[in-house]
């Protein structure tokens, strides 16, 4: 593989991972055409799996395809996936709009001041920028129910912290780069925590265990600390 070539939706790069997977990269930054190419291959593969296929994990710019190394190998899987790139798939899904409540109280927003300082904004301007974002569910990842929302506005995009912080509570609303998510578990994270949400993402409903489908639109609605406490009790 060439180190300098940049992947594109039309010319993805295939990377071997361990003894059992191929990572198909369609780009290096989060944008709609790249993600659309990821979902298109994911759907084509679901409709046309190869012998030895285990699972596919779609992400922002790439699709990880895991296989059984007893049955097949990286080169065979790559050949199969290349053959699927031109397959036409029909998508007729109408994405839902989901609303997520968020409280920016200082107790819930340990990084709000740091984000303001780093972006040169006032904390209230950071909040307004976050509320103004048009978010879309790009994928689930990291941990059960962690839905990655693309669409954080440019003025408040920051790189991750250099090292993860442990023990952040469930419901934390956090951002990194163009991504935003609402945590479902106490987990370590290198993201910037700017609020907390009482909206459950792991619903507890066996028929619909997760709140979002990939592709859904999401809006945040600001609530007061009093409202947050009322919902949580």
């Amino acid at each position: 593989m060439s180190a300098d070539a940049q992947p594109t939706p039309a010319a993805p790069i295939f990377r071997a991972v361990a003894e059992r997977a191929v990572l198909v990269e369609f780009g290096t930054i989060i944008d709609k055409p790249t993600h659309a190419a990821v979902l298109k291959l994911d759907q084509a593969l679901a409709a046309n799996p190869f012998n030895g296929f285990r699972e596919a994990i779609p992400a922002f710019v790439n699709l990880l395809v895991e296989f059984d190394p007893i049955v097949t190998d990286h080169a065979s899987v790559e050949a199969h996936l290349r053959g699927l790139l031109d397959v036409q798939t029909s998508t007729s899904r109408h994405p839902a709009v989901r609303q997520v409540l968020v409280c920016y109280d200082a107790d819930f927003a340990p990084d709000l001041v740091a984000v303001a300082t780093k972006t040169g904004l006032a904390p209230e301007e950071v909040i307004n920028a976050h509320l103004a974002g048009a978010y879309e569910v790009f994928m689930y990842g990291f941990a059960p129910g962690y839905a990655y929302l693309g669409g954080v506005p440019a003025p408040i995009r920051l790189d991750r912290k250099p090292s993860p912080v442990r023990g952040l509570p469930a419901g934390s609303v956090m951002i990194a780069g163009q991504q935003c998510l609402v945590t479902t578990l106490i987990m370590p994270t290198g993201w910037w925590v700017i609020g907390r949400s009482p909206t459950p993402i792991l619903t507890g409903d066996p028929a619909r265990p997760f709140l979002f489908d990939v592709g859904d639109s999401v809006t945040f609605r600001r609530i007061s600390r009093a409202e947050f406490d009322r919902i949580k009790t």
Partner: protein, 331 residues
């Protein structure tokens, strides 16, 4: 129907119910979980003639103690060098024995290893989540962690005197300190010098070690570019490098995606033996090609399968040459 009831007299941290794992749900953010050391788990089940995915208890270096309140059941303990005490009997792990009402079964860490597996000749009753009893540590979903005073029921119990005695411990279930890995998928974020340092340095297992992953101590491997990689899927065994250049090897309950670059991925068959390395142990990484990794996986699967089939078929004392010892037998 016969059954046995145990009361948890003591359970250390990270002692949990595990079956073979919850596969196929990473696209929903759900890792496979399952045993840290899948090989030893499979051996414990095979030693009782159980199906390979039957739920058992993963015991950490914290140990566990179970009072048998009623019933009688044969159990197998395999993985690590642990110490098993049942009534007046004291043996090493890699053993099959029968526990009866009134016995206390205590499993404590011994000379080597971090994880051992307690399998029952019967069905361990535990919560299932999304089709598996494996416990996802961070959420506690699945069969769950064991807690003091909890009651555990095993149904359809069997007593298998013919299987009692030592289980051979194959060399491939011993700790492994040379970890074969396939470079990437983000090795391009590191300079040639840094990549060379990765495969030529010694790293040490630290006690920042849980079911999600283990941090290593050793030369820092700083990535060359800023950490703005869109979060992307991760496989178990990935060697993740944080912005300050510290390595973490991701294990059973790993996050399914992440934005830190992965310099390499440890092949599955070495990962199960790696998790038996203790904090302070030195490890080193050896880079291999993807196709060599595939061929190793096939060789390893044949060897493991043939060992498990022989063990499952056994009734009567396994022939190890040295009764009561857990010394390695030929690979």
């Amino acid at each position: 129907m016969t059954h046995a009831v145990f009361r948890v007299a003591f359970a250390g941290p990270h002692v949990s119910v595990q079956d073979a794992g919850r596969y196929g749900l990473m696209r929903f953010g759900v890792p496979a979980s399952g045993p840290m050391d899948r090989k030893s788990f499979a051996i414990a089940n095979a030693a009782l003639g159980n199906p390979p995915d039957q739920a058992g208890i993963e015991v950490s270096a914290g140990g566990v103690s179970l009072d048998c309140l009623s019933g009688q059941v044969s159990v197998a303990v395999a993985g690590g060098g642990f110490i098993v005490r049942a009534g007046a009997r004291m043996v090493g792990s890699w053993t099959v024995l029968t526990i009866s009402a009134g016995d206390t079964l205590t499993i404590r860490p011994g000379p080597w290893g971090n994880w051992t597996y307690l399998a029952f000749a019967g069905i361990l009753q535990a919560e299932s989540w999304l089709g598996s009893k494996s416990t996802h540590g961070a959420s506690g979903l699945g069969g769950g962690r064991l807690a003091t005073a909890q009651l555990i029921t095993v149904t359809k119990t069997r007593v298998q005197y013919d299987r009692e005695g030592p289980i051979p411990c194959p060399v491939w279930a011993r700790p492994r300190h040379i970890l074969r890995c396939v470079p990437g998928p983000q090795d391009r974020f590191f300079s040639t010098e840094t990549l060379a340092e990765f495969t030529s340095s010694r790293y040490f297992v630290t006690d920042a070690f849980d079911r999600m992953g283990v941090k290593l101590r050793g030369p820092a491997l700083p990535p060359i570019s800023a950490l703005a990689i869109p979060s992307e899927p991760i496989l178990r065994g990935a060697v993740q490098v944080s912005g300050d250049g510290v390595l973490t090897v991701l294990l059973s309950d790993h996050q399914t995606t992440g934005g830190y670059p992965k310099i390499a991925t440890v092949i599955a068959q070495d990962l199960d033996s790696f998790v038996q390395c203790r904090p302070g142990d030195a490890v080193a990484f050896t880079a291999i090609s993807p196709m060599d990794a595939v061929l190793l996986a096939r060789t390893d699967a044949r060897r493991g399968q043939s060992f498990l089939e022989r063990l499952t078929a056994l009734s009567g004392h396994p022939v190890t040459g040295a009764s009561g010892s857990s010394r390695p037998v030929g690979a």
